[in-house]
Amino acid sequence: MESRQTSALSPAPALVASRPFKLRRNGLPVQIASRIGSGLLVLWAAVTLSFVSVHLAPGDIVSLLIGEQLRTPEIEAAIRAEWGLDEPVLWQYLRYLTRILHGDFGRSYLLQTDVSQLVLSQIVPTLKLTAAALFVAILFAVTSAVLTAGRRIPRSIAGALELTLVSTPSFWLGILLLYLFSFTLKLFPVSGDRSFSALVLPALALGLPLGAVVGQVLRQGLERALEEPFALTVRSWGTSGLVLRLRHGLRHAALPAVTLTGWLVGSLLSGAVITESVFGRPGLGRVTVEAVLGHDMPVVLAVAILSAFTYVMLSTLVDILYLLLDPRLRDEGREAAR
């Protein structure tokens, strides 16, 4: 259970750590349902929060939604109609909820386009980047943990490297990589998203600092696993150290590392925003930055709700996976996770 306490430093097991329903000895289906219900509750609250913030923000709603666009009677009428501003607030709220449920995030008046279409058209490059970065992170973490766990000198070298990577802003790492590999060695393109090679540097810049965090947790778990009696048993079969680490130890070490999933998703999404700017890549991050600077609220809110959705969905999935993998959590998890 110790690994769950890592939450102090990163908001990782946010959803793992608190459960709304007081269930203890219920069956698995009920527990899974409660996890899903809890996730849906958070999502509903997130959508409501975005609605409330639009209404509570200083200034009138029309000028908030219009962004840097010129205010004309036509646009004003369009916004009033879209948000139902002439109707009671409760009605507006229900209307907003229904719209979001249908995947309709409204219209960006600044860009003169449907927000949902804009987001859809930009999601692929961002997914490519985050997937590649995740791959880099996991590869780094596993390699570093397996090769250095329990070995004094390699361990302290890896520890120092990880501390440096964790402390390095990903955008600066990106600038260094750009200078070294694009401008000086001319191995990779400077910007854009036209080829696979354009993905390498951004994925490294985004993935390495995250991999360093996961690597630290993985190594701790692996070291704990290697001290357990089963490790001695496996060694007595004459199994080589590497096979023991890869096939038997990693399995135990992975479980604590999985609690980082929520934090990892959040960091990937946050990091993508900055990484895309450094490397001049198209994608959601770039759209978000431009929307924030141009006060294009419909786009900003859509991206925020979408990322909350991704985060909640994956955290809930991990939560459920935990229940399936580790039956002990089914009755004691609640208390221990507090």
């Binding site: 890592t6 990782a12 600066w172 750009l178 959040g266 900055i274 930055v289 006060h295």
Partner: protein, 290 residues
């Protein structure tokens, strides 16, 4: 960053002074010294770098590092060394203020939730869940899109995003401490609720907050620099590290030094803070190694 388990509540609190650990650990000594230098740069930058960080001199533009300009000059002919030193004030004060904001609000919320339990606890916990469902930087970006860019707004946005991590820990601690034997006993003495909370629960419930704040400060400084890199923080010509990197990125082909030094300053500062924070946490938990 988050490899260390935080101390379990109810465990005996071992508070060895941090200073006792100093002589045995050269890394820690270096970290403390570096933080001291950064602190001087933050409070009194003129002491380290005399040159005006804002004064442009087009005739001296993009000069590589030399004896006269240690870190070179940027595209407007400003002294990069002086800008990095003066930039400490922006980057660190934003980080410190955001963490202080988050620690204060987080402690109050956590204490409230832990003491009140029931509905209030449920509401606060749910609220924290919702806030942390948005990735840190994205939440900050959403807030900035309401408030507009700028130093104060950046502090507020980053601070709000960091509230849950403090609130959760304080809530959990309060939970345990308010139910512990000595508080029960103090209650039987007939102490008032205010005295009970202020004198017996509060000090222990927030004991870990300074450590969390130190460790969180590194993350906050990186976050602040990242948002400034995107143009959400102090506006030019302020020598903030993140916005200097944004300029440096555009001149990378011709002048690498503009984009290297500010990043090095951020990284070294964050490493130093992490080393001290981890060591402090280890001492708090009574462990020997960080």
């Amino acid at each position: 960053m988050s490899a260390l388990p935080t101390s379990q509540a109810g465990e005996t609190l071992c508070r060895r002074p941090l200073l006792h650990a100093l002589p045995a650990q050269p890394g820690l000594v270096l970290a403390v010294l570096f933080i001291a230098v950064v602190a001087v740069a933050t409070i009194w930058p003129g002491l380290i770098a005399g040159a005006d960080p804002i004064a442009a001199d087009p005739l001296q533009a993009q000069l590589p590092p030399s004896w006269q300009y240690w870190f070179g000059t940027d595209h407007l002919g400003r002294d990069v060394f002086s800008r990095v030193v003066h930039g400490a004030r922006y980057s660190n004060l934003i980080g410190v203020s955001a963490v202080a904001f988050a620690a204060t609000i987080g402690s109050v919320l956590g204490l409230l939730a832990g003491l009140a339990r029931g509905l209030v606890d449920e509401i606060i916990t749910r609220f924290l869940d919702v806030v942390s469902a948005f990735p840190d930087l994205l939440l900050a970006l959403v807030l900035i899109s309401f408030t507009g860019p700028g130093t104060t707004n950046l502090i507020f946005a980053l601070g709000v995003a960091f509230v849950p991590r403090f609130a959760r820990v304080v809530r959990a601690q309060t939970f345990v401490i308010a139910r512990s034997g000595y508080v029960e006993q103090a209650r039987t003495f007939g102490l008032s609720r205010t005295v009970l909370v202020m004198r017996h629960v509060l000090p222990h419930a927030v004991a870990q907050v300074p450590i969390l704040a130190t460790i969180g400060l590194g993350t906050a400084i990186i976050g602040a620099a990242g948002l400034s890199f995107l143009g959400m923080g102090p506006q030019p010509p302020a020598p903030e590290w993140g916005s200097m990197l944004a300029e440096g990125r555009n001149y990378l082909r011709v002048a690498w030094w503009i984009g290297v030094w500010p990043g090095l300053a951020i990284t070294l500062t964050v490493i130093a803070i992490s080393v001290v924070g981890r060591r402090w946490q280890a001492a708090f938990e009574g462990r020997r190694s960080a």
